[in-house]
Amino acid sequence: METINKNLSRRNFIKLSGLSGAALTLGLYMPAFGKESSTEIISEATAENLGIDLNAWISIDTSGKVTITNHRAEMGQGSFQSVPQIIAEELEVNLDQVNIIFAQGNNKKYGSQITGGSSTIRGNYQKLLKLSATAREMLIEAAAKKWNVAKSECYAENGFVIHKSSGKKLGYGDLVEDASKLQPPHDVALKDPKDYKVLRKSLPRQDTPLKTNGTAIFGLDKKLPGMLYASVERNPRFVGKVKSFDDSETKKVPGVKHVLKVTRDTFGNMFEGVAVVADNTWAAMQGRKALKVEWDDSGFEYHSTDQLYSKMKEQVKGDVISFKTKGNFNSSFAKADKKLEALYETPYESHSCMEPLNCVANVTADACEIWGPIQAPDWVQGNLAGALKLPMEKVIVNMTFLGGGFGRKAFTDYPFEAAMISKEIKAPVQVVWSREDDTTLGPFRPGMVYQCKGGLGKNGMITAFETKMAGQNMNQQNPGADRTGYNSSTTEGLLEPFFESIPHYSFGDSPLNSPIPVMWWRSVYASTNGFALESFMDEMALEAGKDPLDFRRSHLGEQRYQLLIDKLEEVSGWKKRGKNEGYGVAITECFTSIVGEVVKVSKKADGKVRIDKVWAVMDCGWYVNPDIIRGQVEGSIVMALGAATKHATHFADGKAVEKNFNTYMMPRITDIPEIEVYVMENEEKAGGVGEPGLPPFTPALTNAIFDLTGKRIRVLPFKLEEI
């Protein structure tokens, strides 16, 4: 069995990569079942000796072409470019020699594949550097042996190994056969960043040309022979059951083939719906319109936004589950020279990826294959192997390009539903979520309420700080979940040195109970915590009579933070502001990167507030591609601007109110200020890039509006034109 799987897998890899014949293939072997700490670099020969299925991360064929397997998703954040850029550097090849393919889901081979927490680079770069340096050293060794010279007399460059004194050279393609017989060396030396040739350069993304001529294949573009299309009427109150349905009109719609009840496993809760399957998307949608479904919605509360926020506001007044405390907040607050208190509210939000959710499934008697815009192919594999009672290797999960992800496409519910339909109708099917489905069914970013209290000493330093957070806990949604534990994300977003400089603090949460499904939304809790914490920081600075930048400076001792503040002050002209200009700052920490943003606002001729400019300084430590970082920070700012000033999801009678882009309003080209992004240079470990630019924007904006107008905004979203 092992042999068959191994051969199939290798053949599959060769087919996917277009490799020819002999090759030097290196993989990572995790003997402790996907435990990344036990990772070893192994060659194909070693894998065969061990009788294991090699997960080829790098393969060089006899033509010198390099194929890289990207085990993470490409959803716009740039893994399709940044992973090859890392490998090209230590492998000493040009990017045009590199071909990249998506890995299939398998965390036993690849370790975690969940493309979330801005983790692709920060979680893998050291491994990728080492892997490519190992391949390079094996190629150099092969050439040295061939020429019968010392390895130290040779070096690699542009896909060739060169003998220094004679100038003799051999291409990698001519060396792979010999190199593949060598043992991968241990502990290869990695380059000093100052010698980088490919890394740290704004090299153009390799996926761009596919995205300017319509050839990039997203989930919705995947077609299989004989594939049918499904549109599903799902319970708008999420958890209720299908009592009955009448499909008599549906079946009259030309093209409709099947109507069936279907379940969708959402965090272990079986949500129900009725699927209409047809031979094209539109027929399925029309058939669904003609469907009449009666729901059984007994046994849970139908929430409205007002109820949800009243409950949360009530909850922050009471006891919370303590997460992090130091000293004695209460007594220190009581003795403080100045005291302040504020309540902040942030809304529920939809992810609203431009590509609505969709998934192709082909379930046969003994196997299942999935294609889709998927952030976590390994989770989908595990979930479906369990649900379909198939061995893991019989569940193949293929990632397409993702038309946005932002956290929503990290969950297994939509592939699950597609697989259930395919199993039932015994045909490949593509489930297409309408924009309305995508906007109204969640999981949403949870709405939150924060109560902050701060005490200041005579020297203008914070002596006491308390935050009580109320909102749905994303980790407590499974049936029977323990709701007594604290939320470890209560302080996400807050800069680490504050825990040093503030002598007395207390952070805790009070989870809200609601059937509304909630989940990660770009930058997760930091996206809402950041607003409360960094608005309150501004309020405390002003109460202390300090400049908001200086106030932060005095609490953030570490040099890394001081340098970031200096940079922000310098690039934004913080202290050279003109009359009638409002400046606001916020700095947050998210997925181990620190981002500071300064927003400048002014009044237009009609007296309305205008956002003139945003300066962002990103400190993500070790980094790959400055232009991708700039793009991610620009995009994060635009997404934050939308959630601050344009859209929110409200609930009435247990259902989401905003259904499409005519009511869930997106920021548009006319709303965008000038954005300038700077990247800090240092020797820190790599931090996240895709998300950390989001949290500081909103508080920097509202702090700037206060600076200009004296109006403090504590509830999101707000309308710029109404200030």
Binding site: M75, A216, M354, R435, E634, F661, M666, I669, I672, I675
Partner: protein, 159 residues
Amino acid sequence: MASLNLKINNKTYTVDADPKMPLLWAIRDIVGLTGTKYGCGIAQCGACTVHLEGTPVRSCSIPVSAAANKNITTIEGISPDNSHPVQQAWIQEQVPQCGYCQSGQIMAATALLKKNANPSDKDIDAAMQGHICRCGTYPRIRKAIKTASILMSQKASTK
């Protein structure tokens, strides 16, 4: 159901479809050209934009029967090899992130530049504000349109 002729990118396709089916789904599901995207279905986001007789339209909100026998251009017809100045500019300015909305953005930008070779910021706002990009590539879209305008004038002067 009706048999209709669709002239897409100078090629004629005969499709058998409900005349009320939006052009978008006929292009994607029946003809099989998937560069044109579904975004909202109500003409709010612009992802489905194609040119009908040279004018940008929302293919999600036009019945396929209304497009029969007319010249339709989709992203695939702008140029398959990315040689069009707008595509060149999009690559030069590294506009796309996820890329899903970019077909529609490019269709709008090519139509704008055809009408107005040197658009001002206001012209760009007017032509592009119907297009949503959730990744927030708007600053680069604006820049790329200006770059495309320069590339087009250079191309014209070397002819």
